[in-house]
Symmetry: C2
Subunit: 205 residues, 2 copies
């Protein structure tokens, strides 16, 4: 484990992985830090520096073998295994997430779905999961050994649900609720709030 | 215009704005960089430094008036106006986005929806918009003066559609397609890819 690798470097590795997957789809076998950099808008020096935290992945002058580099990045990011996921909230967004095939393609499987709407509890999702009441959260997560949850609920209930999830054993939370969660520092949190992204662009308009 | 403010500072302003809205909902009138920092996991010094790019917003020892600081941040981010948005792609995600009330609450209005599925073109969304064919993109965007688009289409068609959008006058793109778009540097792009966010966390699990 390279505990000292900065978070911002880790954050770029999935972007590299995504670019490598696209190159592979294009039938390519070898690439370079220059080519990756050009596609991603990142300097080639930055890419080489990021990768150097983890070893030597390419030869000077011959570039990177795409499949080899993909394998290494997946190993580093712990992606050579499947990850079960609990989805909390089955509104419009929850529906979209359950049907998003980008998740299983990359080894992420939504395995349990929770919603507190009595009209939904006990019903089945389009891919056959039974929607559970949040009161079953802790037990299901412990039993299934789930470490990752996606929070797709209104802001008002997000903090409390997040705390319940962490208590039940969740170590990584993808938060769609428009609120900054306050959780122990060893819990990973990533936030997706489209409004924040839009507001980060209007400054420049 | 403060052209020299780093992008990373601009990126934090919407986060401050969101925290201020929550404080306001809680009935609060005044806050401090310490309190904001604690809620957001950012140092109070960082918050003061970020805000100092734009002037003096609080008094030493008395903190910030929440409504005043909100007004200033909205002014800086050009949020004291409504922004029309074009949505490209009306699959599950498109459905969720059209119904997401976080957008109109913050002044973002999806005003045109496009999809190339003949089954969808000409039909109406739940809130009464007629789904248009992408061949109408350029004309609609020019006529309505739309500057912001949300791209919710498969990776394979995203780059070409993005180029069409930019040619038609789009200056800011919120991209949900799992691909890094290659566009002129003066076009703002923000990417939302939940897989990338998940992969940024599995390293730590």
């Amino acid at each position: 484990m390279q505990e000292s690798v900065p978070g911002i470097v880790i954050g770029r590795l999935p972007i590299y992985l995504r670019a490598l997957a696209i190159l592979e789809q294009e039938g390519r076998e070898v690439t370079s830090s220059q080519e990756l950099g050009k596609r991603l808008g990142i300097s080639s020096a930055q890419i080489r520096k990021d990768l150097s935290h983890f070893g030597e992945f390419g030869k000077q002058g011959t570039g990177y073998r795409i499949s080899f580099l993909q394998g290494k990045l997946k190993e580093i990011l712990h992606l050579n295994q499947n990850w079960p996921i609990a989805l909390i909230g089955f509104g419009d967004l929850g529906h979209a997430l359950v049907q998003y095939n980008g998740f299983p393609q990359k080894g992420f499987y939504i395995q349990a779905v929770f919603d507190n709407d009595p009209e939904k509890v006990g019903k089945s999702t389009i891919n056959g999961m039974i929607i559970q009441h949040p009161s079953e959260l802790a037990e299901t997560i412990r039993r299934e050994g789930v470490k990752i949850a996606i929070l797709a609920v209104p802001a008002g209930v997000a903090q409390k649900l997040a705390e319940t999830l962490v208590k039940a054993g969740i170590r990584a939370l993808l938060n769609y609720a428009p609120i900054t969660l306050s959780l122990p520092p060893d819990v990973q949190v990533q936030n997706i709030d489209p409004v924040v992204h839009l507001q980060q662009m209007t400054y420049y308009l």
